[in-house]
Amino acid sequence: MDPTSQEQRLIALLDRIAARAGQAGRHADSEIALRELYDLTSSRLYGVALRVVVNREWAEDVLQEAYLNIWRIAGNYRAALSPPLAWMGVIVRSRALDFLRRRASERADAGVDLDGALAETVAGDSPDPLDASQASEQAWALHECLRQLEARQRELVSLAYLRDLSHGELAERLRLPLGTVKTWIRRGLEQLRGCMSQYA
């Protein structure tokens, strides 16, 4: 299936989920649509949750919260002007970051169990696989541009975004000198800017 029709399909499902508001009879159809949306997107979104929180069980909690969130605010999608998968991905990322913040406030040592996993992520970096049948055009562009970065730069940029980490936090978690982190991110961003400017 080409990306555009895949996007149309996801948008149609979001519309059907939103249609239940104010129409009691539409509830069953909304649930069917949510199930379809889940089948089409849950693996990819679980990947996002897992990347942010690292722990499988937590990632499942995050995924559950995210789909309930999507269920409730599907009606807002039309105003977002984003590709549907990215819109949902951002919801998952926010829920995952909320989850980590909640945990951090419950347990002072929450960062500890992340560190090992984080270091591993950077060391074992592999190019992000991309399923062209699902990705939006902007995802394709970002994918192409990230691919041109050095592996460690790509990882740092990805982690900075996905886990909302500052230079200092990245340096601490990855046990890298602060100056190194700053340089890699700066160079990574510069290259990314140059590359992304080719895609309107």
Partner: protein, 269 residues
């Protein structure tokens, strides 16, 4: 410095802003300028959109099958619950569930600690601890499942009796349901009837023999909840609503005003 005079720097800052690595004073200065500059805002938004695509690039992995089950249950609970969805969004029982879950987990850890200390002298230590940890994980899983079911059951009203009250020759005007689990009568106004400011509607149980007994005075809202015991409802073949002076009349006197709506009580099972 006006960033608009330095488009390259502006774009670089917009990218760092969207990535999240622009922090502290630099971030606040960027935000301050963006508030007055549509072009700067547009650059930041464009970069936010570009980075949002990062969420599409993560490796896909199938979550376990019970995630969908949980979503399905929560949606069903939300649908059945008389609480409007907004209240659920704001935490409600989901938060309560998390507290419960945390407590269950803490209990489990305490058990491990206590039992673990006992085994410390034995050379089977590692094996036993692994077994215990496995047992505890299984137990915590069951406890979670339990908590989910309990909260779902609690959120779901059971409807044992229903009555449609209507006036003479008019369309249905009030829907009454009784939930024995919460000992609650729920009345929904369906028609457009609205009592005057000096009047109140009063709900009565009409027993097979004997005088009507008051079940309560209705507020003016579209959905009214009244506490009631199951024997008050189950024993009454019919319910009625009368128009009374503001605040209603004592039960012993019986209805003094006209009966507006009336209907039989029907058990749902």
């Amino acid at each position: 410095m006006n960033l608009l005079d330095h488009p390259d720097l502006a774009d670089r800052l917009a990218a760092a802003y969207a990535l999240g690595t622009l922090r502290g004073g630099a971030r606040r200065r960027f935000e301050a300028q963006a508030r007055h500059s549509p072009a700067l805002r547009a650059a930041a938004l464009a970069w936010q959109e570009r980075f949002a695509a990062m969420t599409e690039l993560q490796q896909a992995q199938a979550p376990s099958a019970n995630v969908w089950k949980r979503i399905e249950n929560l949606i069903a609970a939300e649908q059945d619950s008389p609480v409007p969805p907004v209240a659920v969004v704001n935490g409600g029982w989901w938060r309560a569930l998390n507290v419960w879950r945390t407590a269950a987990l803490a209990g489990g850890l305490a058990t491990i600690a206590a039992v673990g200390a006992g085994f410390y002298l034995s050379d089977a230590l590692t094996v036993r601890q692994t077994q215990l940890a496995q047992l505890d994980r299984a137990r915590a899983g069951l406890a979670q499942e339990n908590a989910r079911l309990v909260s779902r059951l609690q959120a779901t009203p059971e409807i044992r009796y229903v009555a449609v009250l209507s006036g003479e020759g008019s369309a249905a005007s009030m829907l009454v349901t009784f939930d024995p689990k919460h000992n609650t009568l729920t009345l929904k106004r369906i028609g457009a009837f609205q009592e005057g400011p000096d009047k109140s509607l009063q709900l009565w149980a009409l027993p097979a023999s004997g005088a009507p007994r008051s079940l309560g005075v209705l507020g003016t809202e579209a959905v009214v909840k009244l506490p009631a015991a199951e024997n008050q409802i189950g024993a009454a073949p019919a319910l009625a609503v009368s128009l009374e002076p503001k605040g209603g009349v004592p039960s012993e006197r019986g209805p003094t005003g006209p009966v507006l709506f009336k209907g039989p009580v029907l058990p749902t099972t």
